[in-house]
Symmetry: C2
Subunit: 243 residues, 2 copies
């Protein structure tokens, strides 16, 4: 390990996929919503996957100026109304049901190792989210899932989504740290490449079940070289404590 | 009590004076710094009081454009270097000693009721700071004093200091709430008047020892009408649970 790792004072975490199992949680909420609305014969996992897949697309529309800046809650709702409702025949869902379903993204269960790993890491490091989720979403999720963040940092604070540099550099600035004193932890290699390009340290944690048991996670490239790789957050705590 | 109180979902807290006893903590750090630097015969309480008194002054310089925007850490350091060093003959303090002393504001002890009261309030309400302190200062203080915030919100996120409206309205926006769903808790009546003027609910908590045993806290005016008044945070938890 590089001696530079000893300078790390804060860990910033990608959230969707890295900390929480968005897919299982959203599928369950879709199923209960459809049942309550007497909508039958719908493939809830397909809706969940389409919902998640729509998110980089609308984020890019914001980045390119085709959509005004909006918190992720608003973008999730736009995907639901514009894409999922017509595609899956969800027109019977009333406004209140759609609003509640959209907030499923505030109620995501953590991966089984997440709370224990974060609790251990918190003994040594400042822990912050660094997510494209908006602040309210991340705060509600932390209360729901008992995630022990020291700070909830979000793309919303910078008016830029990851992987724009403003997000990584803004997080270091708000934490009062230099970029090399911050380690980005994520399961998405592109997030970590952008963090590294902006001077942050990087921790890669594969989450092979992010897209379900039948669809492999894209994973990292052979030429990716992250500062730490760990199996899960408990393993990450071990790896960082070892230094 | 007004029925409107039942809509409150989040409490935002002033920090210096309301949550932490800045004066006792800063006096102790000044004393240990001066002792280590062999500076004798200095009135540490007077330095602490002058330091704190300088803060609204430099904040107003920022508000009026005479100083560029800066996080509170930078303003605290400016008061130390520009005012306190010449006034109290602190020139012998080396750079490292000054930097460490400036970070005394990150290591402030809470009032005795604060952690218990916040822990109880957190069962029912989202808890956030809403302080002119910068994010790093508030994060470090929360770790030091074990303050169980759900979110660290700061003037720094809005580029405006309290009592500018942007701070109160920005906090509600980031929490995904309407202003009347947020209650500002503070020991400074001016902070609460500004919160109320922007549609927030208000909780007043006197801290008669904020300025020490010999100097009464300015307190509230006879015509001030806040939504809740409580003796301390445990009493605030009782008052809000009663509803």
């Amino acid at each position: 390990m590089s001696t530079d790792m000893s300078k790390v004072k804060a860990l910033t975490f990608d959230v969707f996929g890295t900390v929480v199992d968005w897919r299982t949680s959203v599928i369950l909420e879709i199923e209960s919503t459809l049942t309550a609305a007497n909508i039958e014969g719908i493939d809830a996992p397909a809706i969940a996957d389409d919902w998640r897949a729509g998110y980089p697309r609308v984020m890019n529309e914001v980045r390119e100026g085709a959509r005004p800046w909006a918190p992720l809650d608003t973008l999730h709702r736009a995907i639901l109304d514009e894409d999922l409702v017509p595609k899956y025949g969800l027109q019977p869902l009333a406004e209140e049901q759609r609003a509640n379903l959209n907030r499923a993204w505030h109620r995501l269960d953590p991966w089984p190792d997440a709370v224990e790993g974060l609790t251990r890491l918190k003994q040594r490091y400042i822990l912050a989210t660094l997510s494209n989720g908006n602040v309210a979403l991340l705060v509600n999720m932390a209360r729901y899932a008992k995630l022990p963040w020291d700070a909830v940092l979000s793309a919303e604070l910078f008016g830029h989504f990851k992987t724009d540099p403003e997000v990584y550099l803004g997080a270091a600035r708000l934490l009062g740290l230099q970029p090399h004193e911050v380690m980005m932890a994520a399961t998405h290699a592109g997030d970590l490449r952008a963090a590294a390009a902006n001077g942050l340290r990087t921790a890669y944690i594969p989450r092979p079940l992010e897209w379900g048991p039948d669809r492999p996670q894209p994973g990292k490239r052979e030429d990716d070289a992250f500062d730490v790789e760990a199996e899960d957050f408990v393993d990450l705590a071990e790896a960082l404590r070892a230094r």
